[in-house]
Symmetry: C2
């Protein structure tokens, strides 16, 4: 039975990770985390006819790899939680249609990996099933044409803009895991600080990340120093600076503990990604290509994974609305604690 502390749930059964898969494309293969990916496609079409079909394929492959690595049949998945950035969660719907597992579609923009992992962990903690899966993806070309400009337009990128990761991460949770484990979750609220610039997602999300982290520390009485890594994703450079500034002002220092998935996946100096990486696939693939493997190897012991979402709709922004942010937190631990 989970213990509720404020808005944070401490999971007594500590649902464990059985397996996971990370897939990416060319740009991800040139970044510092390339080695951790299970599959890296040489170009972002993945041999498909459209960018959207390519993104569907990313989710399909991530799930296939996670199932294979865990020697799990798709029939064993008691609930599959997935979502993505595309209108009507196209990548999850069409990418996972053939998996045949009970399906719960989610929308949390770039917070989806934390959202899906949270729901997958709670489903197990509640005793509702034996194995669950959490999946999400993003694709640079589908995101650009949906949220900003068609690539053919050749628009200039602003210094605050982030590069949407072409990648996917899938995690399978269940019994019989030897870790890492999900020890706690904080599902938290939307925050809107009035940002209206679709090229400055980091600023829209930073207040939500700060809000969620403060919630977790206050709820649990724990301190940032108790964690080896506090990984937000994907605030990029602009959002990360803002996050640290906001927290500092409120008396919290993440000094030496914080990193952002959007800063980890690319080399900003060499890869021309402006403020860093973004997209649901950013935190998802950094989780599966870097954080979970490091927890498994014991290089990391206690991690806070805080995926952040800019809940942006082009229709709403065109109608003068600002962009609400949201962040959900998953506390991961190497041992069963």
């Amino acid at each position: 039975m989970a213990i509720r502390k404020g808005s944070t749930l401490i999971l007594e059964t500590a649902p464990g990770v059985i397996s996971y898969g990370a897939v990416g494309s060319k740009k991800e293969s040139e970044g510092p985390l390339a080695e951790g990916f299970d599959q890296l496609f040489p170009d972002s079409t993945l041999g498909e006819e459209t960018w959207e079909k390519a993104e569907c394929r990313l989710q399909k492959e991530a799930v296939r790899i996670a199932l294979e690595k865990g020697k799990i049949k798709s029939e064993e998945i008691h609930c599959l939680f997935a979502g993505d950035l595309l209108n009507q969660c196209t990548s999850s719907i069409y990418g996972l249609r053939e998996v045949g597992a009970p399906f719960v579609g989610l929308f949390g923009a770039c917070s989806t990996m934390a959202e899906s992992l949270t729901m997958a962990a709670l489903f197990l903690e509640g005793g509702f099933g034996e194995k669950t899966a959490a999946v999400t993806s993003s694709h640079f070309c589908t995101a650009e044409r949906q949220f900003r400009f068609p690539l053919e337009y050749g628009g200039q990128r602003t210094p605050t803009s982030q590069w949407t990761v072409t990648g996917s991460g899938a995690v399978i949770l269940g019994k019989g895991s030897s870790g890492p484990y999900v020890r706690g979750v904080t599902i938290w609220r939307m925050r809107d600080m009035g940002i209206t610039d679709a090229n400055n997602m980091g600023a829209a999300m930073a207040p939500a990340a700060a809000d969620t982290l403060e919630r977790f520390f206050t709820d649990t009485g724990m301190q940032p120093e108790q964690f080896d890594l506090i990984a937000t994703g994907d605030l990029g450079k602009v959002g990360s600076d803002l996050l640290l500034e906001v927290l500092e002002k409120d008396g919290w220092s993440l000094a030496g503990r914080h990193n952002d998935c959007g800063l980890m996946i690319y080399d900003r100096e060499k890869q021309q990604v402006e403020a860093g990486g973004s997209g649901c696939g950013c935190s998802a693939s950094v989780l599966c290509a870097h954080i979970l493997p490091a927890l498994q190897r014991g290089e990391l012991k206690e991690v806070l994974f805080v995926a952040t979402g800019a809940l942006m709709s082009t229709t709403a922004v065109q109608q003068g609305e600002s962009i609400p942010g949201i962040a959900h937190l998953v506390w991961l631990t190497a041992g069963a604690g």
Copy 2:
């Protein structure tokens, strides 16, 4: 602790409904369920500047009414599950931004009311909180322009087309309820039978509804006769006929038990809605304006609420894809059983 039977979960604590709100607009006020609505706006703008803002308002009002009727403060909601048809769930995000409750965004197209109610019930059954809420909405004008044609185009409607309900339903679940109760849920898989016509949603969803109902009856060993009402939503006339045909072929008869939210909300003879009502707001408002009140009054005792979703994306359909359907089932009962 929930009992798992196949893919169906029987909820031992039977999370109860504390309160609910149903809001609609002009067309709904002219339909046979008008009396059950808490609020009916005289026109579909709701006094807002855009259709999208009007739809946001629908969710906001439904939640406000449910909170007021239950004498509940929004801070008491431990998790709010919501989603809708609009790109990036615009109506839920902007409509519920100010509620300030921990927020889990969902995407299940028109199955969202069953999906959100399921997640809200499981959250309580798992012991994760004391009160949860489930919300969704739709709006005729936002749906038409997003999925089909701008209204100004004046396109002719086909006989298989359905009229998207301009309405919303919100349900608050929690302890201290005197019913109705959620006794069971079946979260189930996507089904795609190759339908590509965006004006024939009923046919895209009927196989999923049949699949989910057969799953539930097989899992539990229960029979259709044990239920006073088996409410699908929103298959309309075309989808309902298909559902009964598919089930009949497989040896299940819903004779005299079945009705569809899309057939209940409008008078098809008088209201020119072709095959019936549709949209997330259809099953949501029929649930909150008719089914829950009837359970509370004891006129209904055992109900299966099976909201169905056509997981359609215009991008995918333009790229030649068919439309997958999905249906989730919620077993509602008047007494605590």
